[in-house]
Amino acid sequence: MKIENAKMRGFYTGLFAGFIGAIAVHISLMVSAMSGFHPDYAALLASERAIEFILYQLIYELGQVGISGAVFGIFYSMFYEAIPGKGVKKSFIFGLIILLFSNLWWSSYNFLLGLLTGIEKFFWYSILWTGAVYFWPVYGIFLGIFYERWK
């Protein structure tokens, strides 16, 4: 499949890469819940509503990462030439830039607030947002694979 318009290509490849990123989020969330990292989610997984929770959470992740992925895919097509590297390496770097700009901004926000106030929960939020480290690089890799193939 070829898409001539670069922005449309960025949109569609970003959307599909976002869906794959969402699955990565979902798997890691379930694994972290089962290993006791999210007590609320672990309780839901042990309840009668486990299947419902798994499905709704997946739909939610597909929606939110898919939409953000599509928008960021447009940005990828806009700044394609300016990003260092070639092919998948280029999109992987873009994934890391998105991780830095979106999640690490909030991690540093909470970390700094924790340092200044001494309130422990801000450090916890800081770690929580850094957790996105497992899906933006995945998004970046698949964005590059789709983008280069649909050129």
């Binding site: 939610y60 939110q64 953000s68 928008v71 960021f72 940005f75 806009m78 700044f79 030439e81 300016a82 830039i97 998105i98 830095l100 700009f101 979106s102 999640n103 901004w105 909030w106 540093s108 926000y109 700094l112 607030l113 200044l116 106030t117 309130i119 929960k121 939020y125 947002w129």
Partner: protein, 132 residues
């Protein structure tokens, strides 16, 4: 690169001041209790806003220099477009996720304050101060 760092530093500092003005205006408290129901001293918020926005302002400034030629528009408008992109990536995505979890009274002020401090103030200043 040095010019981009200095421009980012100044623009980031100014955006931190704008963010703080939103805090002391009381407008934020009208919609939500900042942040996540923890009352925090105004001096800490001032220091926090300035440090956070200045550090990130420098980083955003470096990226602006890297992608300068590819940002649409010219002059100050280029900075505004860049500010909007930063706002979408940094200050829309996470508040939207938080809003989806029910804390929309916390998320909406962040989106609005982010628009005025990052998209407008930071964007305008970086566009004005940095030229290749």
């Amino acid at each position: 690169m040095k010019r981009a760092i200095i421009a980012g530093l100044i623009a980031g500092f100014a955006s931190g001041i704008v963010m703080f003005i939103f805090h002391i205006s009381g407008w934020w408290d009208l919609l939500s209790i900042y942040p996540l129901h923890e009352p925090i001293d105004m001096h800490i918020i001032l220091i926090f806003n300035i440090i956070q926005n200045t550090i990130w302002g420098v980083l955003f400034g470096i990226f602006f220099a890297m992608i300068y030629d590819h940002v649409p528009a010219i002059g100050v408008k280029k900075g505004l477009v860049y500010g909007l992109i930063i706002w979408i990536i940094s200050l829309i995505r996470i508040p939207v996720i938080i809003a989806m979890h029910g804390a929309y009274t916390w998320a909406i002020p962040w989106i609005i304050v982010g628009f005025f401090s990052i998209a407008i103030t930071y964007g305008l200043l970086i566009g004005y101060l940095y030229k290749k």
